[in-house]
Subunit: 226 residues, 6 copies
């Protein structure tokens, strides 16, 4: 696992929150993967006889002193079935072949360059095709009539310094999720706001295919109404 | 102004950031209002001969030691034209006749009750009509087949404790803006994510009509693509 | 449970660490109790078919972001058997009929008075009998030739301010556990250092008898060698 | 400007508080300088048609969330006239040819050596002449009958560690401003307390002459009465 | 002592730093007083056979973990001669008959009113006479041609909020010590900067006379040169 | 002294609390040593005419602003007799020939290896003989039937990470003092809890013999009762 997403690549706020987060059996044969360890996902992993579940988001990001509610139900299933829960978060964001490379592959970015977070590259898709690939519907900020060099950042990537960095690298479009009003007001380039799940699940799906893991898809139930 | 949005209603993080934020002329006759003091808005206020501009969001939320870039341009126009900038933020969110009352009016909520933030009430609009009223397109989370009691919260209101409170008060739909992935995963009821501007600008428009101020509309340029 | 150890009596550092700490079945019939939720204790509770285990010390005092090692094994057993884990800590120390009352009962203290923590009372036992009652062997600091008014504090009670308080209330002997060298040097009265388990387990045993719970004894394996 | 007072020489507490503090025109031809950007100074700069005003003390040392009172009046004049405000503070204290070199020049110090802050050198002036050069009157602490090696520190330089350093370097007189009672009590050598303005304005005057800037003098109105 | 300067009147930063600061004999007959416990003062107290020395400034304001240098020499003399060191600081500033009342007496202020710190009153002395009474020479800020209502604050009283308060109470002159350049620039009324010792020693002298203590005078060796 | 216990070896929490802690005469001829500077110890040092007292524990660990009670009595004797108080704490724990080497010598450990704190080595003593050497009676945790490789840590060494380190280095017994209940519950190997004094005084005794200092023994008055 260390090769896929070296722990040293993680941000400081992930300290103690990646790697083996729930300890199960020592004898790992069947591996599943998903973006989040939701109830549906862990039930699926259990029914598939998984010994390990690899996810992007830990269920214990905020340190806990109580195991109750949904957390208790999820941990019950994992511990009962001795399923190891393994988390790759910001270390997988930064890794070669990680979250952001998978987005870049999906959008066929060429001439890629790694930013401090995310990737920038040339995109030859039409806007219609690009939105179709994202698959979640999107909110577009600013004039996106034409674009060539596109920055993509999985997760909550609409940070002023990241957008600045993208501009300096020649980007004319910035794709990420969870835009804040105050940030959008000051955005220095056109932006496309997709969903967190649409952007990041492709990375878990891609690594699953590569490693022979079984990916369990569980997108939030959502749709756009205009 | 103290009657419209009493300073004592503001959250602690607004301390020193509401009320008179830029000092202009003592002689206030013509008043404009807007959601944000953008460059377009302050230019508009100046061209209208405004003596005061009332806004919801301060341009100086993060304390500054330098006046440069867009901030410098905005302050230049305000100071040059001696336009007072007056901020009503969380105090106007909580006020009677404030931001959340205006949203409730727009959605024709009846049998209203104030929550710790936002308002809950009965809504007899159809989903299609409700989305139309919001006017910004929206992302819907969960099954919104039917609803009766709707919670509305201007700004970034998708907070776990607020949603919990709404459930306890019988809500079957929660409307706010800026949903985070991790929060959406755990939402205890169906949600509609509108834009920050769509929800909050109605409050500034309503108070302007009531007070005889000139409202300057400046929505972010955005659209939904599916 | 709120009557036995009201949450409002807990120290600030116990915030979020008492009450229901691991959530199990809603249908509670059989209750066990112990001082610590050790592996031996939770296995015992499971084999007895317990629906709830009441303990003094939480296994999650330091907030966790990972469930591994002994913690994982303990939580596995609790969750698998749907055993609720209920913690009464400093709230039970302060409660009437709590930890310190049980110690006072064991040492037959009369004319009792509650201190800010612990209890002071008259003791008519001989030193030999007192040590026998404690049942763990003890280290005696200072001259304990005769004594009348004895202060008892369950847990790590050798705090300078508590010892000062005991002196002011006329104590001529102070009984607690986990004496530190620097504190012992400055102790203003003779002290008897028992074990944490010997002092506090009597409180859990006493409440179990009163409530009809099954107390599971699990003293640390230790002995004194001279 | 970077050559005159390299930003890297500034103390940590000046982070974000030096360099371009108020942004004006890009086209800088006429430059003024002063110690403080007082109302009198900025009015003077505006009437002289300045494009930039270089000062030692920022008007925004404490970060602000409101632009009111004197600050609003000063910023109004600067922004209205598009005068850039450029601050050189502790970076100019430490710079070659900076604040402390100018004091040393005024007192004709020879055989100079830079301290961690300030300069030490041989002084051949009489006490009377030295006081006359300072030009502000002065309070003398201790016996200043004769002296040879003099330490000078612009600003509030009566710090115990600086005075210690000066002693170790052989100083027999220490000149700075704003002596505190508790510090004076423990001063390890005779001291002369001049005014902050008298010591630091000479540095701004000297750099103005060198650079062809127009220095605007605005000493605080003060005098000594005995 | 509690009557002279009630501990409850002290500022928070004096917590643990007033009252009995060095413990000597229980049998107190001969009492000395001074502003600071300098080496000269404690030697004087010892030679006078003092059992207690009452001072305004503690020698242990910054908490210490080492007793060396001047501090060691002062403590040696105090402990050797069993002289109690008793500190009255901000509690004596605020007390009736305390530091600020003594200054007001010296300047013959009438119609007095207590400020949050310091006293304001009518003064009929000429400027020349006022300076003479202060006895230390003074630096005058602003135009002091005539004045009637004078605010006096012992210690470092040139605080913006205090000066504001004095203005609101009608003051046309503010007397204190240790003016900072940045504060002086914004002072809303004329100011006279005397020395800390000149202002505060009169309070210790006055209470000594009243209580029959022996006051030991030890002004810093200083003079003004123009 | 720097050779015996280099200051650079001390833990961060000892900053400013080791070395010369009370300053006495410059002329040091007669040196005493002890574990703690108790009243009995400093009186002994004074009666022996000591010029310096070397101890392991500073009397000023918590920074003080008042010199009262026992601290005042101890400092009085030291200052009166001009006895320098020199502290070697964690720097002496880590030093070659320091606290932990002395314990290892007492227990005849061979094939020694230094841990991050403490020493591990082979021990050929019987349990009975080992307890006898410790000389203070001891509480034994776990099964100590046989042992070979023993870790010793002076002071409060029962830290989870230290015990883990000892296990990894092959230890089958861990000797230190001041075991906490929660730590003992999770101890990964058998432990012997001796007294702080018994373990650490041997180090001060050993260095005294080596350096020709007079060691003053002052064990806490304590005994075990079973």
């Amino acid at each position: 696992m260390e090769k896929i997403a070296p722990a040293g690549l993680a941000e400081d706020f992930d300290l103690g929150k990646i790697g083996l987060v729930v300890e199960g059996t020592k004898d790992v044969r069947m591996v599943c993967a998903a973006l989040d360890p939701t109830l549906k996902v862990v039930l699926g992993a259990a029914s598939l006889g998984a010994d390990m579940l690899v996810v992007h988001h830990t269920p214990l990001f905020t340190p806990v002193t109580r195991i109750v509610g949904t957390t208790a139900r999820i941990l019950k299933i994992l511990l009962e079935h001795e399923i190891n829960l393994f988390v790759m978060h910001t270390n997988f964001d930064h890794a070669d072949g990680g979250i952001n490379d998978a987005i870049a592959d999906m959008l066929e970015l060429s001439d890629r360059r790694r930013m401090s977070l995310g990737i920038i590259g040339d995109c030859h898709l039409s806007l219609t095709e690009l939105i179709k690939r994202l698959g979640c519907g999107a909110r577009v900020y600013g004039q996106v009539s034409g674009f060539q060099r596109v920055a993509v950042v999985g997760g909550s990537g609409f940070q002023p310094d990241l957008m600045e960095e993208a501009c300096n690298l020649g980007a004319d479009l910035f794709i990420s999720s969870e835009m804040k009003h105050s940030t959008g007001r000051l955005a220095p380039l056109p932006c496309i706001e997709a969903t967190h799940y649409a952007l990041e699940s492709v990375g878990m799906k891609a690594i699953s295919e590569k490693m022979g893991w079984t990916f369990i898809d569980d997108p939030p139930e959502s749709c756009l109404l205009i």
